[in-house]
Amino acid sequence: MNGHRVALAAPRRLLTLTIDGREVKVPEGSTLLQACRQVGIDTPTLCYLENLTPVNVCRVCVVELEGSRTLVPACSRKAENGMVVSSDSERVRASRKLVLEFLASSVDLSLCAPEVSAWMSRYGADPARFGSPEPGNVDRDRTRPGEHSPVSQDGAATVAQPPKLDNDTYVRDYSRCILCYKCVEACGSDAQNTFAIAVAGRGFEARISTEFDVGLPDSACVYCGNCIGVCPTGALMFKSEFEMRQAGTWAPERQSVTTTICPYCGVGCNLELHVQDNSIVKVTSPLDHDVTLGHLCVKGRFGYRFVQSRE
């Protein structure tokens, strides 16, 4: 696990590199993303999260590195002395644009954070270039690896599929899944150590799945909700939020956030209670909180139902 460490070792050596013509000094071990951020270059990221091991799969953060045949992912490439990096070259803009178009043409991004549509306009992404979205494959979870889905001559294949409603706490709507691997990491060795979910299948049919696609109640899931906490697309969602959205009553503008300490045990996890119309509608924990790093257990995450139960 990726804890906050107290610096006991000697201060790290500073490295000097050039980004977009500017000289940047960063401590050894920094990534190009950290270097970009240090000088205020806004770099899009989707699969990167401070508290998870980088998987560098979304490729929206790519930058051009002099001497490298291909672009490199800023989120995981370590800075080296003398590197010359462009974060806004023609190649970088073109790749970021296409990556965003690839995602937006195949996945429902409507519940992503607003940055995503800002990036789309910054890079001029137009997902409609690939044709109108196809209805998707209801049997995605049963496709055999390498099995060829017939290719459409008019539209663009999507991952559209019905949401999975198989438990009382949260909903999995994989038509919104960009396969960023964050939930798998949060459920596995980066936080929860439960390993209830993993990536199955391959290629366009790769998907997040339990074993044999069994429902969560039949899986190892302990409903800690840490996967919900890291999901950037709304594919994983509190049932309360899902139902309120369906009923049209979800209103973030009427919500307030109260910070408190979880009452259930002595660990002292910070909770953020999201309250709408006097009801707790979801519970999160700050990513930078040094006890939780954003992760909680089932009691902190879903125990609020006891707080507000009338019995």
């Binding site: 560098n56 799969v57 979304c58 490729r59 929206v60 790519v62 291909t70 672009l71 992912p73 190649r91 073109a94 790749s95 644009k97 296409l98 990556v99 690839f102 995602l103 043409s105 195949s106 270039r129 690939f130 044709g131 049963r142 055999r144 690896p145 390498g146 099995e147 060829h148 290719v151 459409s152 001559q153 008019d154 539209g155 663009a156 294949a157 960009i178 396969l179 150590n193 439960t194 390993f195 209830a196 979910i197 993993a198 990536v199 199955a200 299948g201 391959r202 290629g203 366009f204 049919e205 790769a206 799945s209 339990t210 074993e211 044999f212 069994v214 039949d218 899986s219 190892a220 302990v222």
Partner: protein, 619 residues
């Protein structure tokens, strides 16, 4: 880790036997055995059992082979024994096309419809299959036989090929080439005839170096191998010592034959110099590049040569264990190499104190299970480790952190066999062969529309025209349209390029590559549009799905070709071609690995050559 196991019910006897045949009998109730009173007093599993995670794929393969699929109870039992989360193990099983996670018929026939076979009438064979065995891909467990289309099976010189996968009766996987529905039906009826490797080597014996023994040595006999000069190179290597071997490779300027053309000497030197221990060495025999069959010929017909070269690699790099990773579609090669390992070990050419020296070296044979991407070196490591064969981000490189995170050398089969030649004639002597930028000889897999398809060994420097002449050219009355050089990841060249010398430097100069040595010849009888669409489909089907540019880009590329060929373009043809270039650039620039980075190369070269005319009339 809190694993939740046992939900799927107890394994059947067959499932238990399949898993135990790989893992050995369970020792206690903790790993799936009968619970005894003693089990209450100890807890095992965890770290110790997970140290055997690398046995996951072999055990999944055993379940498939013996029970016809990987069932929930079989997987659950396997996970209990290895202490692996079922979701992860399922994620691994559901990656490989030769493993099935739904009930399926006891016999499944995989019929090649990839580019070479497609150019030789694979669609006719598929129609025959449909007439006899029903619709493709419908693997209904109630029927005795199901069939699916398959990517290249590595028997392209035969013009058609099939792989039979059976889970009942005496036979498991069997290759058949050439293949016909009648021949397949005949095989299904009875026991297989004795397997006889075909000998598609066309170069006369006196001109061969790497292929010197092929077709002449008895591949099952160590004595026969030694009578052909076998194990003299290893003897020389043991006498010279590791660093002198590396020096000879550098003097020879040997470059990798697996596709990336990396200098072999530098790779071995980097592994040898790495202080982290242990070191490993892997022979990459995953050969899945469409149109490639050279490694199969070496593995099937000269397995001891591959082992001898791997042993030398182990010695030179300070490795204590070697792996031969063979694609699952080559069951005959895997059986032959496994037999050769046992034989070599029995006679002291492997194992403790190799040939009486103080060098110890063990070799394990690992089989793939249907995944082109597992041939990418870091995906291959993940495959051996029992993980999904997804390529890793580089750096770190294999020489720094490879198999099990250790310094690892990895070479293609053909690259390794060159080492025997180098130690026989010396690095200097070897470098005399070929050109300044491409030393030695090269194996060319010539297939498609030529009169004499097969394997050719030529000194570097020969031209494409010379090679095609040796292969008899296109059949009379037809004319050459294009040649696919280097495989799906390679590129097309046209009749105007016949004068090009087949070397690393000359092909690079025209933006092509030799890749894995594929020379697929296409004449005017071939539907080039269909070939291009098949290439696009190949990348889509074989993408691991990890990174966005390749996972979605390969789909968009295939859709775009489908639109072009159906004449249903979005906007003008020119606009579609522009979009195709943009898709290609993004895949090349921002994909994690070589699959995505080259997924557009052949198609773009076809556009440049004007071959897209085959897609539709209006281009």
């Amino acid at each position: 880790m809190d694993l939740r196991l046992g939900l799927a019910g107890p394994p059947t006897d067959g499932e238990k036997a399949a898993v135990d045949s790989v893992l050995g009998d369970p020792e206690s109730g903790w790993d799936g055995g009968t619970r005894t009173q003693r089990d209450g007093h100890m807890a095992v599993g965890g770290h110790q059992a997970r140290g055997r995670r690398h046995l996951l794929l072999p055990a999944l393969e055993s379940l498939q082979e013996r029970t016809g699929w990987v069932s929930p109870s079989g997987l659950d039992y396997l996970c209990t024994r290895l202490s692996v989360p079922p979701a992860e193990a399922y994620g691994v099983a559901a990656f490989y096309s030769l493993l099935r996670t739904d009930p399926s018929p006891p016999t499944v026939v995989h019929v090649c419809d990839d580019v070479v076979c497609l150019s030789q009438g694979a669609e006719d064979l598929c129609r025959e299959m449909e007439a006899r065995f029903g619709a493709e891909g419908r693997l209904d467990p109630e029927t005795g036989v199901g069939w699916t289309r398959s990517p290249c099976l590595g028997r392209c010189e035969q013009g058609s090929a099939a792989l039979l996968q059976r889970s009942s009766g005496p036979n498991g996987r069997t290759s058949l080439a050439p293949a016909s529905a009648d021949a397949i039906a005949a095989l299904l009826g009875g026991t297989d005839p004795e397997w006889l490797p075909a000998a598609p080597v066309r170069t006369p014996p006196e001109q061969r170096r790497l292929l010197r023994r092929v077709g002449r040595v008895n591949p099952a006999s160590l004595d026969s191998y030694r009578a052909w000069g076998g194990y003299q190179a290893l003897r020389a290597a043991l006498r010279m010592g590791p660093s002198a071997v590396v020096e000879e490779l550098k003097r020879a300027r040997l470059m990798g034959r697996g596709g990336a053309a990396f200098p072999t000497g530098a790779k071995w030197e980097a592994v040898a110099a790495n202080p982290l221990r242990p070191h490993f060495f892997v022979c990459n025999a995953d050969e899945s590049e469409p149109g490639t069959f050279k490694d199969r010929v070496l593995l099937e017909q000269d397995p001891f040569a591959v082992l001898e070269a791997l042993t030398i690699a182990g010695l030179a790099t300070g490795s204590e264990r070697g792996y031969v990773y063979i694609r699952g579609e080559y069951p005959e090669a895997a059986a032959g190499v496994a037999r050769a390992v046992a034989e070599a070990r029995r006679h002291g050419f492997l194992g403790p104190s190799v040939m009486g020296s103080d060098f110890n070296f063990e070799v394990e044979v690992r089989e793939g299970a249907g995944a082109y991407i597992a041939g990418e070196e870091t995906a291959l490591f993940n495959s051996i480790e029992g993980k999904r064969p997804e390529p890793r981000n580089k750096p770190p490189f294999p020489t720094q952190a490879g198999l099990f995170g250790r310094p690892t050398g990895i070479n293609n089969v053909e690259t390794l066999v060159n080492v025997l030649e180098i130690l026989t004639v010396g690095g200097e002597g070897y470098a005399q062969l070929g050109t300044s930028g491409s030393t030695g000889t090269r194996l060319f897999c010539v297939s498609g529309c030529v009169q004499a398809p097969g394997l050719y060994e030529l000194e570097f420097g020969a031209t494409l025209a010379q090679l095609l002449e040796l292969a008899g050219g296109v059949p009379p009355g037809r004319s050459l349209r294009a040649v696919l050089l280097g495989g799906a990841a390679g590129s097309f060249v046209g009749p105007q390029d016949l004068g090009i010398r087949l070397t690393f430097e000359d092909t690079r100069a025209i933006g092509a590559s030799l890749g894995s040595g594929v020379v697929l010849v296409l004449d005017d009888t071939v539907d080039l549009g269909a070939i291009l669409r098949r290439l696009a489909r190949f990348f889509r089907d074989e993408s691991c799905g990890q990174c966005v540019p390749c996972r979605v880009g390969t789909v968009r590329q295939e859709e775009l070709l489908a639109r072009l060929s159906a004449g249903r373009t979005i906007g003008s043809v020119q606009a579609e071609l522009q979009l195709l270039r943009e898709i290609g650039a993004a895949m090349r620039d921002s994909s994690i690995c070589g699959l995505g980075q080259t997924a557009a190369t052949a198609i773009e070269s076809a556009v440049r050559l004007g071959l897209l005319g085959g897609l539709e009339g209006s281009v």
